[in-house]
Symmetry: C2
Subunit: 258 residues, 2 copies
């Protein structure tokens, strides 16, 4: 059965999409079967995977509302060898439409259930909020990956995020665990980043991934070519970091199963 | 009457809060009467203004739902000489609670109406989404300031943002105009940034502010001291850029009124 990981942080611009797309391609490159779910109405993971979000008849929106099977909205990434449930701004309507539906928090979990056996990993790229869409991801997932910019507002927001994860575990999904916190756009010369990084290690210990993703412009350029950086420029520092992260995740999984 | 400006971009981490807090303090420093409304459940503008979001009995949440007058939830910034309607994570509940209320898009406009005569400028710091909270800001405001990181995903998101502004103007608020697009965290050596910046100038012409805000770590450090950078380190490059922007906005306003 697939390991389902939600990539979550309500703080905006911390690298959720960049992490989702590059981890999906990185693990697919190591022979794993991977599905990436774009759960953000911005549709960035969709565009970053080379799929034009403007020309889609069916998206994850239709799977969430029960209008389509997840398998029928599924697409293949242009490069990177992973599958994708795409999104576009139509998904913004789901925030309001889900409010009145039964089981509004577990719609994604039900939609993904028939696909579980076909994948080794399912990643869910979440929008920058703790709304019904993100709740759906936290109910569907067993693990949470938290990309973290080492800056004050991102650190400050962790309390709310961890509180939400605890509440979801208590009321909706007892299996939910934090898989790890990933330091992104990390500049080792920056004393603020060093300070925040040290606080993360103090509060979260082993939950902090050893892999540090540096600030690297190739990670920001790759989306304009519709490709993950680990495919488009695999020798770049940013791509190398995400390949190392994929390896770290595989090693942790192997250790857990042993 | 106050000019009401919504600081909006559904793309996360582009500098909405940094712009709101530093413009509020920058204009207050030039003798204007300024109110900053934190409309983001993250409460970053509240913390960035030196107010502890965890110890608030009443916030903008209560004003939106009609439980309190806006004047009764108002606080004073620790430094920077502006007033604030604070926010914390309780506001996240409003996204769902507003759905079933009458006039759900104009609740903020009604809440701010009694305060208009007391201020020259009212800024609304929006969350990274095009949800009911942001709609409330777009209905309450006459102008929109769009902070923009010069990167692919932020550029890509402008189409949806401009589309939303047009729909709000057509159905909910005929006065709504784009005041300007602000290039933030700008690194002139970065060809991606140069390319995106050129596209902004082509598509938006004079609507692009002449002021460019450079990437400057002092802007990221100031919030940990609960102060706007224009107060905490006014000589820094980041603070100087925001003071220049305040000047540019005043000059544009004077030209319009002439
Ligand atoms: N390590 C990095 N180095 C340089 N640029 C990066 C890095 N990671 C991400 N970026 C760029 O920074 C911006 C923010 O990253 P991204 O969009 O992945 O964050 P996000 O958390 O998904 O944002 P949102 O909250 O809007 O969903 C993007 O323009 C991206 O290309
Ligand atoms: N010009 C700049 N130079 C360096 N750092 C900056 C600059 N502007 C903002 N920052 C930092 O970048 C991060 C993102 O900025 P900010 O939080 O203001 O963006 P935002 O659009 O309000 O984010 P969100 O979408 O989460 O509301 C913050 O940690 C902030 O301190
Ligand atoms: Mg994203
Ligand atoms: Mg903000």
């Amino acid at each position: 059965m697939a390991r389902v990981l939600a990539v979550v942080n309500q703080k905006g611009g911390v690298g959720k999409t960049t992490t989702s797309v590059n981890l999906a391609a990185g693990l697919a490159g190591k022979g794993r079967r991977v599905l990436l779910v774009d759960l953000d109405p911005q549709g960035n993971a969709t565009m970053g995977s080379g799929i034009d979000k403007r020309n889609l008849a069916r998206t994850v929106y239709h799977a969430l509302l029960g209008l389509s099977e997840a398998a029928s909205v599924r697409a293949r990434s242009q490069s990177g060898a992973y599958d994708l449930l795409p999104a576009n701004r139509e998904l913004a309507g789901a925030e309001i439409e889900l409010v009145e539906l039964p089981n509004r928090e577990s719609r994604l979990k039900s939609a993904l259930a028939p696909l579980g056996a076909q994948y080794d990993y399912i990643f869910i790229d979440c929008p920058p909020s703790l709304s019904l869409l993100t709740l759906n991801a936290l109910v569907a997932a067993e693990e949470v990956v938290i990309p973290m910019q080492c800056e004050y507002y991102a650190l400050e927001g962790l309390t709310d995020l961890v509180g939400t994860i605890k509440r979801v575990r208590a009321h909706l999904n007892p299996r939910l665990e934090i898989a790890g916190l990933l330091r992104t756009m990390y500049d080792p010369r920056n004393t603020l980043a060093q300070h925040v990084s040290a606080q993360l290690e103090t509060h979260f210990g082993d939950k902090v991934y050893r892999t540090l993703v540096p600030r690297n412009v190739r990670l920001a350029e790759a989306p304009s070519y519709g490709a993950p950086a680990v495919v488009w420029d695999s020798a770049s520092k940013g791509a190398q970091a995400y390949l190392a992260l994929a390896q770290e995740i595989l090693a942790r999984d192997a250790a857990q199963e042993a």
